[in-house]
Symmetry: C2
Subunit: 206 residues, 2 copies
């Protein structure tokens, strides 16, 4: 029974390993959100995750790698979920609404994650240059294409650059998230999604 044994072995061993990696990552989100990345010590992350300091280095190359991993996992989830959510929506306005709701839902569900994504990730130009050239571009591309398809379908004005409109929408959502994260008042961030989309579609002018 070599195959079955190997499979069972893999299941037994792999699960705790993934759990532990995940526990460390979640601890990192919490610790970075509370104290800031540079003010956080790897030993703090380890303590919150319930492991020793050295263990962090069995799962991550470095402290930086923790931050990178948080970003990559979150963006990958966001992009996958975004693509899936758009698959069964045809109306261009509804598509934008869907994107906006997912964006704010994700952050509004976990304030610590929002802090890390809205603040801690932006702590250095090097980081930002690296990040913005990959996943962030992919994300912006999804919005850009949605707008461009909406124009082709006749739902949106043709005299607006899809690129500019995508940046405006993303910037607006980003600002809503940042404001919510910094605000003492507890309100549902996701509620801002429709407000933003309605304003951008309908315009402020009469």
């Amino acid at each position: 029974m070599p195959a079955a044994s190997a499979r069972r072995l893999a299941a037994v061993k792999a699960t705790p390993a993934i759990d532990k990696r995940d526990a460390i990552l979640r601890a990192a989100i919490k610790v970075f959100a509370r104290h800031g990345y540079f003010q956080s010590q790897v030993a703090d992350v380890a303590r919150v995750a319930g492991v020793a300091a050295g263990t962090v280095y069995l799962y991550f190359r470095s402290k930086d790698d923790l931050l990178v991993s948080i970003f990559e996992r979150t963006m990958k989830d966001a992009i996958d979920e975004g693509r899936a959510a758009l698959a069964d929506v045809a109306d261009p306005v509804d598509r934008l609404r869907r994107i906006a709701r997912l964006h704010l839902d994700r952050l509004g569900r976990d304030r610590d994650l929002a802090v890390v994504m809205q603040v801690e990730l932006r702590q250095s130009i090097k980081f930002m240059e690296r990040f913005s050239s990959t996943h962030l571009q992919d994300y912006l591309n999804i919005i850009r294409r949605t707008i461009s398809e909406g124009q082709a379908a006749g739902a949106f004005r043709n005299d607006v650059s899809p690129n500019a409109a995508a940046k405006v929408l993303f910037g607006a959502l980003d600002e809503m998230a940042t404001n919510w994260m910094l605000s003492r008042r507890k309100y549902a961030l996701a509620g801002d999604a429709d407000v933003v989309v309605d304003l951008i579609i309908g315009g402020l002018g009469r």
Copy 2:
């Protein structure tokens, strides 16, 4: 001639002191922009400013104080300039255009300042909480009031929250600035101002 003497003395002594403080601040913008706040050493800032490390501490309380001072001076300038520029413009749409142009002009003129304002200042939640509750609120208030007055004048739709619209506009401008700063291509950031305002006023829908 005690008064005249004192005045002359003040002029002679005060000017170099202000120059030096200014030189240190400008050096800090350059160094922080190139390497990031935490990767920058106070000694680097001093070297670029042409002074010794200790001299920095004659003008600033700490390394933090350098960052705070950059932010406060920039925001104070922005708010003063904004208020002055709005004084002689009546049309609500032109007023928003004016705000947008000033915002992007300021950052587009100095990429290092843009890097510090768009990235380095946001490196920790503590910083952001502190900043966003004062100058940033003042800045948002100017936009909010302009929109609210535009509604009263009948130029803007009444069924949009001025607060939400202000955040959308600010977020859009912020995103334009961040994109420009991260972009290799050299284009005039200020050109985005009208694009953003036109889109937000006119809306993306037909």
